[in-house]
């Protein structure tokens, strides 16, 4: 008998103050499609998000392809094989084009296919080079659904695909294409777990589960998915994707650079550096302040990913989400070079490198604090930045050290 591709083993999950799943078990094997169709609040999305490693468990374990990916002990391991995921929110990055977004998904799978047929089938081929922000709600949903299907579309070996209400906002023709695509992918061995209330999707299911009982059914459609994927081996993927996100929005210029330049300008407005030539500690503090400010503003890519909760999609795929560390380091180098010229009228490569490192480590610390509250219902409303003043002490020590160089 084939091993399950997805296994939830006696999973207990709390949400709010209640227990939503209690000792819940489920297995999905190659070629199976389970439709979860319980009433609102029954726990469908909780099962989906638990299978995608997004929710911590009180007890139990989740396995992908027989390997543990998370458990009630708090372990959270990267899946060894990529899986398809569409959550209730679209998890898109609005400033990316449709093609850029889907290419990122293919890069994660280290393979690529021609996107034109699938985009044409969903009737969005003409929007391929448009930014996602310019699409309608239904079109954005189509992109999110295609992104969820891509790992199965480009793999010959069985893959897991998890879709949470993929039908939401789709028109009739798109639903028909979705149903047909699921049939074709399932027939070549991929397995699906789909949460939906739409009875049109029920025909895809090899079993219908309302979270109280499960009913198996025969599926007559035997069409098979055909595609010719090409292999590619992207390196430094998360850094590269972070760079792409940042360069397409220039968020780091809007937020980090602006704050750093304002601090530099503010300092210049109250003091003439030439009158402080003996105050080396103060001048060094002024020199390193812009890099520190840049880091304190936070990771620009984190901000982008948080807009439509695409950070959840990334967290499901990898424990480490895209970042803007490279941009922070380079920005720190440039800003410190400028501020060195202004405040100490010289350029010392050691100070400049320290400036870059200050920007990088401060960004990483702020990002760590932000990520630690990501599980909260209103993570943007929590006052996590109240803890950032702790970074002033090490910054002050570095300033002292640099003043003695």
């Amino acid at each position: 008998m084939a091993d399950p591709i997805l296994e939830l083993d006696k999973v207990t999950v709390r949400r709010g103050m209640g227990i939503v799943l209690q000792d819940f078990s489920l297995q999905i094997k190659s070629g199976e499609c389970i439709i979860l169709h319980g009433k609102n609040g029954a726990g469908k999305s909780t099962i989906i998000e638990t299978a995608a490693r997004l929710l911590p468990m009180e007890s139990g374990a989740v396995f992908h392809h027989g390997s543990l990916v998370c458990d009630g002990q708090g372990r959270r391991l990267n899946p060894k094989k990529s899986f398809g995921l569409t959550l209730q929110s679209n998890c898109l990055v609005a400033s990316q084009t449709v093609e850029q977004h889907l290419t990122n998904v293919m890069d994660l799978c280290a393979k690529s296919i021609d996107l034109k047929p699938i985009l044409s089938a969903f009737n969005i081929a003409n929007r391929r080079n448009d930014k996602i922000a310019h699409l309608s709600g239904g079109q954005q949903r189509k992109v999110a659904v295609i992104a969820g299907l891509i790992p199965a579309m480009i793999e010959q070996q069985p893959r897991l695909v998890v879709l949470d209400e993929p039908d939401s906002g789709l028109d009739d023709s798109a639903i028909k294409v979705l149903v047909q695509t699921i049939h074709e992918l399932r027939n070549i061995g991929h397995c699906f777990m789909i949460a939906t209330h739409d009875s049109r999707l029920f025909e895809c299911g090899t079993s219908l589960n309302d979270l109280r009982s499960e009913k198996t059914q025969e599926v007559s459609n035997d069409a098979r998915w055909e595609a010719e994927p090409e292999s590619k081996s992207p390196t430094f993927l998360k850094t590269k994707i972070g760079w792409k996100y940042n360069s397409s929005t220039l968020v780091s210029v809007q937020r980090n650079w602006l704050a750093a330049l304002l601090v530099m300008g503010g300092l210049l407005s109250i003091v003439d550096p030439l009158t402080l030539s003996d105050e080396t500690v103060i001048l060094m503090g002024f020199t390193l302040a812009p890099a520190f400010t840049l880091g304190l503003v936070g990771d620009a890519v984190f901000k982008i990913l948080n807009e439509q909760r695409s950070i959840d999609w990334w967290r499901a795929q990898y424990n480490q989400v895209p970042n803007s560390y490279v941009e922070s380091f380079i920005s720190g180098l440039i800003l410190t070079t400028i501020s060195s010229q202004i405040f100490i009228q010289s350029v010392d490569y050691r100070i400049i490198i320290i400036g870059g490192l200050i920007a990088l480590t401060t960004t990483a610390c702020v990002r760590f604090l932000q990520l630690s509250t990501i599980r909260l219902a209103r993570s943007n409303a929590v006052f996590i930045r109240l803890l950032t003043p702790i970074l002033i002490l090490p910054w002050g020590i570095i300033v002292d050290y640099c003043a003695k160089l």
């Binding site: 949400r15 709010g16 103050m17 219902a377 209103r378 109240l386 803890l387 702790i390 002490l393 002050g396």
Partner: protein, 232 residues
């Protein structure tokens, strides 16, 4: 009206604090005027040290509550977490504020960003502020309780660091007056006022913790009744 033991302790602690202030300003001996830049400002010490002492007790309660919730899912643990963070914030702010006033008079600056003790204690107070404000910004649930109790657990690492900071890295902040070395001993009358202050603060925060536990219990009951009305 039913008077609870928490209320009695709060009133007793508050009365003790008033007595401490009276004694500090009117009875405690003056310090050697040659030893300090601003000798009169030293009287703040009778408020500052007991407040810091009480803050450490509150942070210990916060740690205990966080651990009980995080590892045992104990409802009492969460109530202790809430009470400990509120008491830690109140006492921490009193210690920081009084320290700033004294620092401004004695050192010429209210804060030194390079003093380890000031910064670690300041961070503990900010942590308590984060826990109090953050909790109010989120719906109550296991997600928020887990997150905030994790911070409560991590935050407690700062308590021993703060305590030993004045022994290892003496920069500006004076050395310990309680359990310190021979040089740090203080005269009998001074010690008496200090002890009254520490005792009053201790009684006050015990009263606060008991009252806070009661309030949290009422809040949870209201929440439960609300859900029953919603038909959940």
């Amino acid at each position: 009206m039913r008077v609870r033991s928490g209320d009695i302790l709060l009133m007793a602690g508050f009365s003790g604090l008033m007595l401490t202030l009276y004694l500090a300003f009117n009875w405690a001996p003056s310090v050697n005027i040659n030893a300090f830049q601003s000798p009169e400002a030293q009287r703040i010490f009778y408020w500052h040290v007991p407040a810091a002492w009480a803050a450490f007790i509150a942070f210990a309660v916060l740690f205990l509550g966080s651990a009980l919730w995080f590892f045992k899912r104990s409802p009492l643990g969460w109530k202790l977490h809430v009470a400990g963070s509120e008491a830690g914030l109140a006492c921490g702010l009193m210690a920081v504020w009084s320290g700033c006033v004294w620092g401004a008079a004695e050192w010429g600056t209210p804060w030194d960003w390079q003093d380890y003790r000031l910064n670690t204690f300041g961070l503990l107070t900010l942590l308590a502020l984060f826990l109090v404000l953050g909790r109010q910004s989120q719906p109550d649930g296991v997600e928020s309780r887990d997150t905030f109790s994790t911070f409560g657990l991590y935050g407690f690492v700062l308590v021993p660091i703060t305590y030993i900071a004045t022994r290892i890295w003496v920069i500006r902040h004076p050395g310990p007056v309680i359990a310190g070395d021979e040089d740090s001993s203080i005269s009998g009358d001074m010690a008496l006022v200090l002890m009254i202050g520490a005792l009053s603060f201790t009684i006050l925060i015990i009263g606060h913790i008991m009252t806070s536990i009661e309030i949290t219990k009422f809040e949870q009951r209201i929440d439960r009744l609300q859900k029953e009305l919603d038909g959940e």
